[in-house]
């Protein structure tokens, strides 16, 4: 096969080569996609018009109450409860997850029992239960089992609406976080913990320095979900007379009867907080994806909307 090679079809001369350079290739015109965009934009404009033009939304009232003192106080309670309950829930969840993964039967079963109880009963029931603890145990005390009492408190002094709300939300959250963290820990390649062991790291250090940072990639997204659920779950504490965002809004519209605009105030605040959290979550995910060179962490739906 030497000498003048037969012309390869289409690639014989310079002009053909230039024409066939894929760098110049155009994408197919996708009329369907453009039409879909057109329809979507039209619908969006229509929805916006409906919201803006319907007088029943009473947007001036929304604007008036949006930063009202009572509303902001409720917002503060919602955020404060969320942060405290979430931090406690994550901390306890981590302990439970490690217990669940322990080879030792006792912590394994204790953690399992905890998760079974707190994940298996409604949060509302748990909140009411903690709030009414004094009917079960009028006093709480620290004592030697079957022996003398060391310290004692009246239950009603300890259990205020605030402590009942924190206990209820945090203890319930811990059960869910335990499973999320456990899933994250077992998602890390077992060779990583083996390597840490071979280098003489203690189990605690290996968890802290090697396993947990890698597990975070699998832990953060569902934790973001939990956090957003928690913000809305705090609205349940209104049943034990805690003045959270929803409770404050209800208190106002019970006086003014402006139900819809005040609910819109709450809705807008909830959306604003979850949007902020989505952005923060994306940043955290990108941080824990470092070292994953080339693998791009997909943005949350929120962030995608923002850049689309």
């Amino acid at each position: 096969m030497t000498g003048a090679a037969p012309a390869a079809p289409g690639l014989s001369d310079a002009r053909q080569l230039a024409l066939r350079d894929v760098a110049q290739a155009r994408s197919p015109r996708n009329i369907g996609r453009w039409m879909a965009w057109g329809v979507a934009l039209l619908l969006a404009a229509d929805v916006a018009w409906i919201f803006a033009s319907n007088k029943s939304f009473e947007w001036p009232v929304v604007a008036q109450w949006f930063t009202g003192a009572a509303i902001l106080r409720g917002l503060g309670v919602t955020l404060g409860l969320t942060v405290v309950a979430m931090v406690l829930g994550v901390a306890l969840g981590l302990v439970l997850a490690i217990g669940r993964l322990s080879e030792n039967r006792l912590p394994h079963h204790l953690a399992g029992l905890y998760i079974w109880v707190f994940r298996g009963t409604p949060l509302m029931v748990q909140l009411i239960f903690w709030y009414n603890l004094s009917t079960l145990f009028p006093t709480l005390s620290i004592a030697v089992p079957f022996g003398p009492e060391l310290a004692s408190w009246k239950t009603n002094d300890l259990i205020t609406p605030l402590t009942a709300a924190i206990a209820g939300l945090a203890l319930n959250e811990a059960a869910y976080m335990a499973e999320i963290i456990r899933a994250g820990l077992i998602s890390v390649d077992s060779r990583q913990s083996e390597t840490a062991q071979a280098f003489g790291m203690t189990r605690g250090r290996a968890l802290r320095r090697i396993i947990i940072p890698q597990a975070m990639r699998a832990i953060v997204p569902p934790t973001g979900n939990q956090l957003i659920s928690m913000i809305k779950a705090t609205s349940l504490v209104s049943v034990i007379a805690m003045g959270d965002l929803l409770y404050s809004v209800q208190a106002v519209y019970n006086r003014t009867f402006q139900v819809i605009p005040l609910l819109m105030v709450a809705v807008l605040w909830y959306l604003l907080i979850t949007s902020l959290l989505s952005v923060v979550q994306s940043a955290i995910e990108r941080y824990y994806a470092r070292g994953e060179g080339g693998i791009v962490v997909p943005m949350t739906p929120m962030a995608q909307e923002a850049t689309a």
Binding site: T195, R209, P213, Q214, Y288, R290, G291, G293, G294
Partner: protein, 258 residues
Amino acid sequence: MNAVPLVSAHNVHKSFGHNQVLKGINLEVQAGEVVVILGPSGSGKSTFLRCINHLETMDQGAILVDGTQIGYALRGTHLHKVKPGVLARQRSEIGMVFQQFNLYPHLTVLQNIVEAPIGVHGRSKTEAEAQAFTLLETVGLRDKAHTYPRQLSGGQQQRVAIARALAIKPKLMLFDEPTSALDPELVGEVLATMRSLADQGLTMIVVTHEISFAKEAADRVVFMDGGVVVEEGAPREVLENPSHPRTRAFLSRFIERV
């Protein structure tokens, strides 16, 4: 008369379920010696290596490393299993290099190397980092200190893993098939690094399929098959003039290829 060996294994047995992998391994390694363990897949050589630092528990027998039985303590006339913290300390002077490198992917090359020296051996950050840069220099990767493992080639990752193991100033280095996961053109750079370590008098036990490395760098070659040591001796004897038919059968497969 020989000095007290750094590693001495006596009658090591190990089963996975009904599969008996090690059937009484005896081996002694002197300080400064480079021992290469050869053998077909499934001969138990990796399992034996992992028994040395107790990554694998054994069923019977004993292994001493510099007078310490990793994972156990003799108190009076009774042998006790030690607690995890003690085990961690016992292991801390044995370096290990794995087939899949096992670098910590979330840490940079430098952080990978200083992790154990700082966290396990309590060295200062400045001291550990200075040493890490020296080690990176010797494996030829000084300029990669701040990159993440995934951005390196397999050969570079394995050289970092070697530097990481050296950073703990090990009295014994274990290599578990260090070149088996590498593309053929990257094997040479890792073997060159290992050969220079052998020349420096580091005590090494190397499980590998690289006959050429055994020939050039080993003080002694151990051939394992079916969970026992079939034959051992100087590389020249074992590789060029094997006395056992199983060794001959194994080596002939390589000669065809080389």
